[in-house]
Amino acid sequence: MKIDWKNITIRNLAALVCHALTKVGIDAVLVGGACVSIYTDNTYVSYDLDFVSHASLKDIAEILSGLGFQRESSRHFIRKDCPFFIEFVAPPVSVGNEPIKKEEMVKTRYGSLRLLTPTDSVKDRLASYYHWNDPQALEQAIMVAKAQKVKMTEIRKWSEKEDHKEKFDTFFRMLKA
């Protein structure tokens, strides 16, 4: 399959990477802003693909070099003709103090992609808002919650456990405004 690296979508690139890794038995889950891009159909545009994997970076680098991505620093990979930047962040896959138990599977013509569920994607963005007061992360959480069906009761309970009930109320108010 010929790939137009310059114009590839974030969704297809993520699936391509995920598929290449899965083929050799490496599990990787897409997290962070890339999930927001996918769930909002690029209303929010991210050029960072953050994956979490328990495999060694050496093994991952070998597979990514097969796709033309070179290791830029310890955890980053780039391909000169591709606008996206791939990072393998340290495991585990978690949102705040909670491990991720269920992932979403999206099928594309480039293969299957494993990523955070919409509910966990909202929690992931809210965690950045809760801990760093990041207004962009709050906006992204709202975007995902508007574009996808999410479990709001679960998000509220998780927020209370994270000790951020007030900030959850702000998020919820803005979502309903």
Partner: protein, 109 residues
């Protein structure tokens, strides 16, 4: 104290610094402990890569803190706090009790 667990003494110094002051930067730590700055830069990078700490640029300084999103943070801090209780008083005085409150520009140090 926890050198064996953490792999080296620099990590222990970084952890105690972040625990006591809440944040730190490589040159500041190097000056405090009178050790080469690259030792701290290397270990801070290692800890950042593993998701235990995070950094942000403030002016020209890269400031490090514990990663509040790490799922192991509470347990790690509990371990570091426990170890800190055993740091000799003289060492605490030397390294971990620096003035942190503001001091107006122009006043003698």
């Amino acid at each position: 104290m926890l050198e064996g667990l953490f792999g080296n003494s620099v990590i222990e110094k970084i952890f105690f610094t972040l625990l006591v002051y809440g944040e730190g930067y490589p040159l500041g730590m190097a000056k405090t402990f009178d050790e080469p700055v690259n030792k701290f830069q290397q270990q801070l990078k290692r800890l950042e890569d593993s998701g235990i700490i995070v950094s942000r640029l403030v002016g020209n300084v890269r400031l490090y803190t514990f990663n509040p999103r790490s799922p192991f943070l509470d347990e790690l801090k509990a371990l570091i706090s426990r170890a800190y209780e055993f740091v000799p008083e003289r060492e605490k005085e030397l390294y971990y009790r620096k003035r942190m409150r503001p001091r107006r520009k122009g006043k003698p140090q």
